[in-house]
């Protein structure tokens, strides 16, 4: 009985916050289907004639399709690279003593200590020397680099939170270190893996500054394209809202795709 009251209260709380957080988002979605004069009307127009002209403009004049693909490739590439390297490193660090793990982990954090602006100029010059400015590969490399610290730290924590008995059992059964990692530890941290990859993808997807500088005008990602909608003279609210929706769709898709790996209870019965 107590448990049910708890659940109902929790449900109520979740609903409340979801509504609160979603007010601006609903506004964006609504605005994306408004005609230009409805978008900036006051009082805000809640009843209006919907029009998809913003989306049409987005994909024709603004070349949003190309930006979408560019963003997708850069973010996926960055995510995969940082997840592979970072999860491995996270596991290694988790197995070392706490102090050593922290020390080395600290070095991993060093890329996050400086504002992107500080790192941008040297990177730009360096890439210019090896003729990689305006190249998608450069962007993927930069994205993997700056996501590594987060992946390493998070995965290290998730690996450390696992109960040791399961892995010990595998070692006793004659499993090699790499085997333990691949067959035992990795499946156990599935929720952590999913959450971390979503974050890695997200940070690359939304990254604006490096994409702007290193893109060199050739490569346009979605955030860069979005920034062009706001000039000194005019802000195109309609297109801006539409691009938010367009940018949000892959994320939602990505997150939903991996829902089933997030079910708790994966380890149920593993320690026997």
């Amino acid at each position: 009985m107590q448990k049910t009251v708890g659940k109902v209260a929790a449900f109520g709380g979740v609903c409340f916050f979801t509504v609160l957080f979603w007010i601006p988002l609903l506004w964006i979605i609504l605005s994306s289907v408004k005609r230009p004069l409805d978008v900036t009307s006051y009082p805000p127009a809640l009843i209006f004639r919907p029009s998809f002209e913003n989306y049409i403009a987005l994909f024709t004049t603004d070349q949003a399709g190309a930006a979408l693909v560019t963003s997708l490739v850069a973010s996926l590439g960055g995510m995969i690279a940082s997840m592979v390297l970072g999860t491995l490193a996270g596991y290694g660090l988790a197995k070392l003593s706490a102090q050593v793990g922290r020390q080395i982990g600290f070095y991993f954090l060093s890329t996050r200590f400086a504002p992107p602006i500080a790192l941008a100029l040297p990177l730009f010059l360096l890439l210019g020397k090896i003729h990689l400015v305006g190249s998608l590969d450069a962007l993927i490399v930069v994205y993997s680099l700056f996501n590594l610290p987060l992946v390493v730290w998070l995965m290290r924590q998730f690996f450390r939170d696992l109960p040791g008995e399961i892995e010990e059992a595998a070692v006793v059964d004659g499993c090699s270190d790499a085997g333990v990692f691949w067959y035992v530890a990795l499946p156990l941290v599935a929720p952590g893996l999913v959450a971390t990859s979503v974050l890695a993808f997200l940070f690359a997807w939304n990254e604006f500054f490096y994409a702007l500088i290193l893109g060199g005008g050739n490569i346009t990602t979605l955030p860069v394209l979005a920034s062009t909608f706001a000039t000194d003279r005019l802000i195109q609210w309609g297109e801006l809202s539409a691009i938010c929706v367009v940018a949000g769709v892959p994320i939602a898709f990505f997150a939903t795709l991996f829902q089933r790996y997030l079910l708790r209870g994966l380890t149920f019965g593993a320690v026997k």
Binding site: V14, A98, N206, A230, L262
Partner: protein
């Protein structure tokens, strides 16, 4: 109880370390990549900071001027003021994000109906590019036709000039930051909570632990560490990024919301004082390193 590990390497009764090459080599690729990616920019910036390098000079020459960039940085100009703004913004925003994020994660962990749906919904604010978030919220905060003032009006409040009023602007950017980044904390704390295997909890129940004890000795230690990671990353990011502020208030009104990264941007891209900006970067990096290592020592981070 959650397994004891961490002081032995890596399995108990290990005798030959060299056989555990996998552990060592798993760390190397990532470590090398990060060092390569940070040493060069850092070295370059350090080098430039000792020079008077200004892009508006007719021949943009590199003239060595020793510590004078640092001296003028610490004595004249907006450095300390921006630092104060940054500190207030970062600390207030991140504390609230932590509290709210943990709350939301705990609520969602209750196996409520439609949990996955709500989690995806609550993640959404984080999925919008920060620079776009700034633009959207600037619109929402608009004194004449913004949604916030409209809603405020419905409840009988007076419309406020959120972004233009110097007393409110800082609060406005803090609220926007909370809206955007609470989902981050929520996501990782929830993942941490869900990694605790069911049988560990059940073992604890069998051992006679009640709700409160389960929370305190099993769940809390786990989320404490994840929370610390979240806090560290949020603190670092809030301190060093100005994307949102750039499009939301442009550092204004005046310099009220000019946080350090924005100040840096102004020096480098508006005034073109690259040497000075490099010195500012070095000082900020140094400060951040001190604060983070201090934080990690104090929190006795595991």
């Amino acid at each position: 109880m959650v397994g004891h590990f961490g002081s032995w390497w890596p399995w108990p009764g290990v005798r030959h370390r060299w056989r555990h090459w996998f552990i060592t080599f798993s760390i190397l690729p990532a470590l090398l990549a990060v060092l390569a990616g940070s040493i060069y920019p850092f070295g370059y910036t350090l080098f430039v900071s000792f020079h008077d390098y200004n892009l508006t000079y007719s021949n943009a020459a590199f003239t060595f001027n020793g510590l004078s960039n640092y001296l003028s940085l610490l004595t004249v100009g907006d450095f300390w003021y921006s630092l104060r703004v940054s500190a207030i913004f970062t600390v207030v925003a991140v504390s609230i994000e932590l509290a709210l994020g943990v709350l939301l994660a705990s609520l969602l962990n209750y196996e409520v109906f439609g949990r996955n749906l709500f989690r995806s919904l609550l993640l959404t604010p984080m999925t919008i590019a920060p620079i776009v978030v700034g633009l959207i919220w600037r619109w929402l905060y608009n004194a004449e036709y913004g949604l916030i003032n409209y809603i405020l009006g419905i409840f009988g409040g007076r419309p406020q000039a959120w972004v233009v009023n110097p007393h409110l602007a800082l609060g406005a950017i803090i609220i926007t930051d909370i809206w955007e980044w609470t989902p981050f904390i929520m996501l990782i704390v929830l993942a941490g909570l869900q990694t605790v295997p069911v049988d560990v909890i059940e073992a604890a129940i069998l051992d006679g632990a009640n709700s409160w004890q389960r929370l305190r000795f099993v769940v809390l230690p786990i989320i404490r560490n994840v929370m610390l990671i979240g806090a560290t990353f949020r603190l670092l990011d809030a301190f060093r990024s100005a994307d949102t502020i750039f499009s939301l208030t442009g550092g204004g009104p005046g310099r009220v919301t000019t946080v350090e990264p924005y100040n840096l941007y102004l020096q480098a891209f508006q005034d073109f004082r690259i040497g000075y900006a490099a010195a500012m970067s070095i000082v900020l990096i140094g400060l951040t390193t001190l604060v983070v290592s201090g934080l990690m020592k104090i929190a006795q981070f595991e």
